[in-house]
Symmetry: C2
């Protein structure tokens, strides 16, 4: 398992989480039982339509407070992060794209081992509607880049990796320009 020491033993396997333990040597030579959880990786995709709108979604799930995000989901077993991003784009928004580029990947960190992959989908076009599962309610919003930056601190949007980047783009003109080129420049 990625990001889990090779000598760790799986002490629990659930539907979503696994828990791992191992004996860790400390800096003074003593050992202690360490524990980490693992969970499936997540792909997120930032969809840009042909007329340069950003697709931002408003999401309700049972037991969770309403939140705003980009299309996102868990990488299924046997699926690549790229395929997951593509699938979530269509399922959650009804848009498709032939021009998907990886932006960055990072380790989710802390004591939960998981990777987080972010993609940009350019030239998105509607292709039928959403195919939501019965545990999702999603409203699609189309924002200009300026509207997105305006909304980002007003709506419940919390993303470990993307929030700092969008806040920086909102308040730093140089980075805003850089991000705008990344999102909207044509090949």
């Amino acid at each position: 398992m990625k990001h889990i020491p090779t000598n760790a033993k799986k002490v629990f396997e659930g539907i979503f989480f696994s828990v791992w333990q191992w004996e860790q040597e400390l800096y003074d030579g003593t050992t202690k039982t360490f524990e980490k959880a693992s969970r499936p990786d997540v792909s997120t995709i930032i969809p840009i339509t042909k007329d340069n709108k950003i697709v931002f979604i408003e999401e309700e799930q049972p037991t969770e407070p309403k939140c705003f995000s980009f299309p996102s989901g868990v990488v299924d077993e046997g699926e690549t992060p790229d395929d997951c991003a593509k699938r979530e784009l269509q399922e959650e928004t009804g848009y498709i794209s032939e021009n998907i580029i990886p932006w960055f990947s990072e380790i989710a960190g802390g004591r939960v081992a998981s990777e987080y992959h972010v993609y940009i989908a350019k030239d998105c076009e509607l292709n039928g509607g959403q195919s939501l599962d019965p545990g999702e309610r999603i409203t699609v919003h189309l924002f200009t880049f300026e509207e997105l930056l305006e909304q980002i601190e007003k709506v419940p949007f919390k993303n470990f990796s993307l929030t700092p980047k969008l806040i920086k783009a909102k308040y730093n003109a140089e980075y805003r320009q850089e991000l705008q080129e990344l999102l909207f420049a044509q090949k």
Copy 2:
């Protein structure tokens, strides 16, 4: 358990993580087994010395990449988040404070139930050294507010709640002023 539905059953209890499952009714009336993990709450404390330096720590732990952070740790069983913040301050830095104020608390979110509490410790004074456990190596740095904002994007500092605030302070003069007053103003 906070942030876990009351009908959930604990299906695993480890050293650190517990895992919970329950039958969740979905929007179409069908049900599905849902799963969440829980972990202990965390307190973080931003220490300000009597001469207005911010105490920032550089931390090594076995199996983790080196990172920068504020003194921080897991709230022990029977301990309050306030007491945890005070304890971590002394253990990780050797500083104490008689003037600790709560800044904000939030739910860590995602599928891991946990609360995150942030404090500001004003008028900190050295009182003996650190008392690190054998699984920690911590170097203490003293930064001015400007130096902290300068460093924040250069060092490996990742904090779900604090990174966006510090990035905003770096690039937005109005918020920088507000945060500076919060951190340095006397009662």
